[in-house]
């Protein structure tokens, strides 16, 4: 099984060697440098993700506060309108009562 898996790679390597087209290591990008770069990228990505989570919470809280206050104002307005209407109706009926009797 193991041989089967590695066979094509070994074959390719042999073919490359035969044709003189050998693998050349890229200068400056050795394994240690790449791992170091990736670890920096992971740290930066983690920080950015954490920052965005903080931003979402901050903006969410901020606009929720305004929305909640807006709803409270709207409800207070409704209550006031109902109070005015009730008062108007009762005053009208109280005024018309003595006239009718």
């Amino acid at each position: 099984m193991k041989t089967m898996l590695f066979e094509p790679e070994a074959k390719q390597a042999q073919q490359a060697q035969d044709s003189g087209d050998e693998y050349e290591a890229v200068e400056g990008l050795d394994r240690a440098a790449i791992e170091c770069q990736r670890s920096f990228e992971a740290v930066a990505a983690k920080k950015t993700a954490s920052d965005y989570s903080h931003i979402v919470w901050a903006y969410g809280v901020l606009w929720s506060l305004f929305a909640i206050y807006g709803v409270l104002l709207w409800r207070r307005g409704q209550r006031l309108r109902n109070d005015v209407q009730t008062l108007r109706t009762r005053i009208d009926s109280a005024r018309s009562r003595p006239e009718s009797t």
Binding site: S50, D51, L62, Y69, V84, R90, A94, R95
Partner: protein, 234 residues
């Protein structure tokens, strides 16, 4: 007529400017070198603090006018501005620690600006509670509280100069690069327009409530039995 349309105009303005401000903050302005992406909280945290301080001053001045002249309009403005200090102050006291947690590694450092801001918020909570639940004549005590709160506003501003704090100095905002100002203005505009619209609506409601109280008194004069009956129903 103007009192009716002003909040609508302001809210429409905020509805247009708010998406513009979000797009400027997240798409146009670069990431700040020292604080990173989380610095973008600044564009809403700082205007919110300015709004809190502005309405703290408005409430204090209106309360002083109310004490001196017994003006209903001043009273209504003081109450509306006091409530806005609570809303904006709560926003500042929540978004600040969120930013601090990401930047300083600690949400609350007990620095002078945080303490004075917390104090301002508590004073205005006390003001609104006294206004709402205080006995007859308590409006004078409430007005005194509002004036005391307004005195705290300059202390918040100068706290970073007087004491050693984790907050940066006031010069930071003045020396912002133009691209950051371009993002700060729309955010300030959207928040200030929303806050002012809400203060205007609340002040009108307060005036309407005062008129309604007068109407009840008149109703008792016209038809005492009917008025008592209605009050019992309500």
């Amino acid at each position: 007529m103007m009192a009716r349309t002003l909040p609508i105009i302001l809210l429409l303005f905020a509805a247009v400017v708010f998406p513009l401000s979000v797009s400027t903050i997240f798409l146009d302005v670069g990431i700040e070198r020292q604080l990173g992406t989380v610095q973008k909280i600044f564009y809403f945290h700082v205007p919110l603090a300015w709004i809190m301080m502005l309405y703290g001053m408005v409430c204090g001045i209106a309360a002083a006018v109310q004490l001196r002249r017994e003006s209903r309009m001043a009273e209504a403005i003081a109450i509306a501005a006091g409530e806005m200090v609570i809303v904006a102050g709560l926003g500042v006291l929540i978004t600040g620690p969120i930013w601090g947690h990401a930047s300083w590694g600690k949400a609350w450092t007990w620095d002078a600006r945080q303490i004075t801001t917390g104090l301002l918020w508590l004073v205005f909570v006390a003001y609104v509670l006294v206004r709402r639940y205080g006995a007859a004549g308590s409006e004078r005590l409430a007005a005194a509280l509002a004036i005391f709160g307004a005195v705290d506003v300059p202390i918040i501003y100068y706290a970073v100069k007087i004491w050693k704090t984790t907050h940066p100095s006031n010069d930071v905002v003045a020396t912002l690069p133009p691209e950051m100002w371009a993002a700060l203005w729309p955010a300030l505009g959207a928040l200030l327009a929303t806050a002012t619209a809400m203060v205007a609506v609340r002040a009108r409601q307060e005036l309407a409530e005062m008129d309604l109280d007068d109407a009840w008194v008149e109703a008792e004069d016209i038809a005492p039995a009917a008025a008592v009956m209605v009050k019992g129903d309500a």
